[in-house]
């Protein structure tokens, strides 16, 4: 109980901090005024930029952590990452295509990245169903690597062959960031994410069984194939949407579930909600660092999560081995 309370307080603090601090230093009074009144520059910065940005980072971080936790149980490997299954390659290819050929639409890049990720998900799914017939975790991983590498190769080919040096900037977009956060983006992501998140949270008990392995899960009453399909699709769709909104942000989906398993429990009924809140808070903090540490320059948030996530992960690894 105290742990839940602590988590709630910490989350509220992180959210507040995310709104209070930014690349423009604002006095706490101005931030408060900006939140409740509708006028002035502080109001524009706080309401139109910071609040949606912080909320979007929270949702995306939570979504990535939940997807990561679910996929780790699905493939029974604590090192699985939400991007492992070919998603990032597909999204990158889509983004590069949009930047190379996409015309004037301001949403061309995210839409193309989303489409690319979905195609990759569908291909990986097809491949592993044909090969293993039962969505075998190992086949799924291999299919993910195959599709991801192929998409990455296509992406490199387009960048090498294209006569637009600006395509190199596609990598900047892929590195991830929340600079394009706004209320409409937030609303779109939130509405979209509700269903996959609900599917994953409701599958918590099933995930406990899948984590035991296929035969034990079956004997305990899990409809393994249906469960795997549902979890794979929900986690992939959630990750695809986050790639489309803010590029590829690594390590949230890896480190957060791992930390919660160690510090709290591997039971998915608790693990998933705690990982959601923890992942959200982690990403809000990472984004806060990204936009303030070198201001006015902003770092790609994926760089920050890696810089924080890798040492943290190494530490956890040492501890769990000791």
């Amino acid at each position: 109980m105290t742990r839940w309370l602590g988590l709630a307080v910490a989350t509220a603090l992180v959210l507040l901090l995310g709104v209070a601090l930014g690349s423009v230093p604002l006095r706490p009074g101005d931030v408060f005024d900006g939140l409740i009144r509708n006028t002035g520059e502080a109001a524009v910065i706080v309401r139109e930029l910071r609040v949606p940005r912080v909320l979007l980072a929270f949702l995306v971080g939570g979504g990535l952590a939940v997807s990561g936790a679910a996929l780790q149980a699905l493939v029974r490997n604590p090192l699985a990452d939400p991007y492992l299954l070919g998603l990032s390659g597909g999204a990158g290819l889509g983004a590069v295509l949009a930047i190379a050929f996409g015309g004037g639409s301001p949403w061309a890049v995210p839409i193309a990245a989303f489409a690319g990720a979905l195609i990759a998900v569908a291909l990986v799914y097809r491949l592993s169903v044909v090969a293993g017939r039962r969505l075998d975790p190992l086949v799924l991983l291999l299919a993910g690597v195959v599709v991801g590498s192929f998409a990455a190769a296509l992406m490199s080919a387009i960048i090498a062959l294209s006569d637009a040096p600006r395509l190199r900037n596609a990598f900047l977009w892929l590195l991830g960031g929340f600079s394009s956060a706004s209320w409409p983006t937030l609303a779109l992501f939130a509405i979209y994410a509700v269903i996959p998140l609900a599917v994953l949270l409701l599958a918590a008990r099933g995930l406990d069984l899948l984590a035991l392995g296929e035969e034990p899960a079956r004997h305990l009453g899990a409809d393994v194939e249906r469960l795997r399909r549902r979890i794979y699709l929900a986690a992939s769709l959630l990750t695809a949407a986050s790639v489309a909104t803010c590029g590829i942000i690594g390590f949230v989906g890896l480190v957060v579930p791992h930390a919660v398993r160690r510090a709290w429990t591997p039971m998915h009924r608790v693990l998933l909600p705690v990982a959601f809140v923890g992942g959200g808070g982690f990403l809000v903090l990472a984004d806060l660092v990204a936009r303030t540490v070198l201001r006015p320059i902003e770092l790609p948030v994926g760089v920050v999560t890696a810089l924080v996530g890798v040492p943290l992960f190494a530490l956890l690894l040492r501890k769990s081995l000791a």
Partner: protein, 264 residues
């Protein structure tokens, strides 16, 4: 309760069936052991009887209903299974692990009710693991872990219990404890099926033994009917002697190769 009739099972692309027409029935209150050499089709038979493999011929039924017609959750509620191997990827605590045995009976949204908690506690006590219910399962000894897995199977309050080599790599005490427990459960009305290499354990605890050889039934009957020297020597291709314990159960003793004949 658990039954198969003339069951033929074949793995994909295999030229020969792994199980070639076996019939067996395990009734409530009965403990049946399946034994036989490595590769004789024991585990395959089990998979077929539990509906994990589709039969090529013959039937596998539970409560006289084709096992493949059962909903996974209903099947799990009726039959508790302790599979042979299980790797621990994400170590839960003992009580949490046992609770997973209630999966098929949980309420909507996976809610755990009072009845579920009571069943878990009963299973913990039943298998003598309650004293370390809050320990993580990766910190248990082999014998403790096996008992936890039996408790998990019992938590679902099944009418049949199936164990695949439950005493593999257990010492004498834990081996005996495991069989005593299953025997007790069978006496209380459970239908129990154990796959085992322990001929002498089967001899002392089983009501009936199915001896398999090459996917076929080599012998089926009471221990005294099945565990006789000519059958065992032929099936295991090794000379054995059969004696009797003071309580009347046959005991199988494999013989040393006669000196001088070792140069085969």
């Amino acid at each position: 309760m658990l039954a198969c009739h003339d069951l033929v099972l074949r793995y994909r692309n295999a030229t020969r069936p792994a199980v070639g027409g076996v019939s067996l029935a395990v009734n409530a209150g009965e403990l049946v052991c399946v034994t036989g050499p490595n590769g004789s089709g024991k585990s395959t038979l089990l998979r077929g009887m539990l509906g994990l493999l589709h039969s090529e011929r013959g039937t596998a039924t539970i409560d006289d209903k084709d096992v493949c017609q059962w909903e996974p959750a209903n099947l799990a509620a009726a039959v508790g299974v302790v599979p042979q191997r299980e790797e621990i990827t994400f170590p839960l605590r003992v009580r949490e692990t046992v609770l997973l045995g209630r999966y098929a009976r949980l309420g909507p949204l996976g809610a755990v009710g009072l009845e579920d908690r009571a069943a878990v506690e009963r299973a913990l006590i039943r298998c003598d693991v309650a004293q370390f219910a809050d320990r993580r399962v990766d910190q248990l000894s082999g014998g403790e872990w096996q008992r936890v897995r039996v408790a998990r199977a019992l938590a679902g309050e099944p009418r049949a219990l199936v164990l695949d080599e439950p005493t593999m790599s257990l010492d004498v005490r834990h081996e005996m404890e495991m069989f005593e427990l299953v025997r007790e459960l069978a006496d209380q009305g459970l239908a129990a099926l154990i796959i085992t290499h322990g001929l002498n354990l089967a001899a002392r605890f089983a009501d009936r033994i199915l001896l398999m050889s090459d996917g076929h039934t080599a012998a089926l009957g009471t221990p005294a009917e099945v565990l006789i020297e000519p059958i065992l020597s032929r099936v295991f291709q090794w000379p054995v002697a059969v004696t009797t314990t003071p309580d009347g159960a046959p005991q199988v003793m494999p013989l040393r190769r006669p000196t001088g004949a070792g140069a085969i």
